[in-house]
Symmetry: C2
Subunit: 231 residues, 2 copies
């Protein structure tokens, strides 16, 4: 049963994303240090993001709102509005940054697209994700695009149903064990994990909790065409 | 050629939305008046929203970020962070408010769903729109859901293509002339305009610029089943 459909995650699989959050978070840390040197701004921001996830969902706008709330809370309302304006500016900068593809992406997708149906399956903010795809210049290589609020067993099952995909014909490629590998494998599909240099804690799964089979790990997207032929 | 597919806008067609923005905007006006009594906060906020639309897109999170930026600008950075925290709280309140259906919606959709394919075609924030749909309890009545970043000729054409819909078999029902009526009629589809009590300026189209035919206006969704039989 050869794989027919290849799903790709977007952020940190096709284009850089987390490094940007990381850079901004570093700036946030420095800004807060000037006001409350003793505070653990990184941890507090991470907690705020998780607390707000059910209200805001994923994405840069949610991250910006959580940075603002954390800054106000940590300084007990003493931070000047001019500093909060700086934070608003970081959010806009992140949203306006050009999409930067990971090494090997363009070449690999061009190589795969004649032989497989390629889908982009990403989560996050609709507007932001569509902007990134448009900017990436890769739009025409994908047969379809699915932007999900959350990647889990239910949402992948929905994709399979909408697109009449048999799980065994499908492989998901992404950098997140939690979002790209575990739910797909548990539905009977295949998965390929390509770790990114930085991973958001929230996406981490302890190695011992991972399914034993059904997925593989490669170091670069360049290894994908060879691996797909083996599957 | 009887209509086969009925598309419904969500915000202010099926459930209340703009009144909430309106209420929050009133609170924003009052808050700003305490700091800068001479400023035209409403106009400045509307300008800010429009300026940020290409960066943020639609939705409550975008609106919240624009309120914060307007407040900081209008007070020249003098607004205390505690007041900005109040604005953050308004955004969360809007996102957490239960979905409130317009009068007659539930009954009408139940009446139509055995005879027509119903689609929800809405724009805005993916996460927020999916939450509203889930809360509305109407999910099962729709054959499909399309959440678009913008409703225009291109995005409706995409919906028609993805779902193999002939424009002449399709009617779009919504409260916005700009988003629900004009693009659909110009593609050869039908449209039904149901005005809402409050309309965002941005969605307004001068009556004389409206297409002459292809669309009708009704006062309540309750008139829709009768109208569809005439089409």
């Amino acid at each position: 049963m050869p794989v027919r459909v290849v799903g790709f995650d977007g952020d940190d699989t096709l284009w850089h994303s987390e490094t940007r959050f990381h850079v901004t978070q570093g700036e946030f840390h420095e800004l807060l240090e000037r006001h409350v040197p003793e505070a653990d701004a990184d941890r507090r921001l991470a907690e705020m993001e998780l607390k707000n996830l059910g209200i805001y969902g994923y994405g840069v706008k949610s991250f910006t709102l959580s940075m603002l709330e954390t800054a106000i809370e940590l300084t007990e309302g003493q931070i000047p509005a001019s500093d909060l304006k700086v934070i608003l500016g970081w959010g806009k900068r992140m949203l306006m940054e050009p999409t930067e593809l990971l090494e090997g992406v363009e070449e690999t997708l061009h190589k795969l697209s004649p032989s497989y149906d390629l889908l982009l399956i990403t989560k996050g903010d609709l507007f932001d994700q569509e902007s990134k795809l448009a900017q990436s210049g890769l739009g025409d290589l994908f047969l379809g695009v699915e932007i999900l609020t959350e990647k889990n067993v239910d949402s992948y099952r929905g994709v399979f149903r909408r697109r009449s995909i048999q799980p065994e014909d499908f492989v998901m490629v992404g950098n997140s064990l939690r979002s790209d590998v575990v739910p797909v494998v548990s539905l009977g599909g295949h998965a390929v994990h390509i770790p990114y240099e930085v991973t958001w804690d929230h996406e981490h799964v302890p190695e011992e909790e991972m399914p034993k089979g059904g997925w593989r790990r490669i170091a670069s997207i360049r290894e994908l065409p060879g691996l797909l032929e083996e599957l």
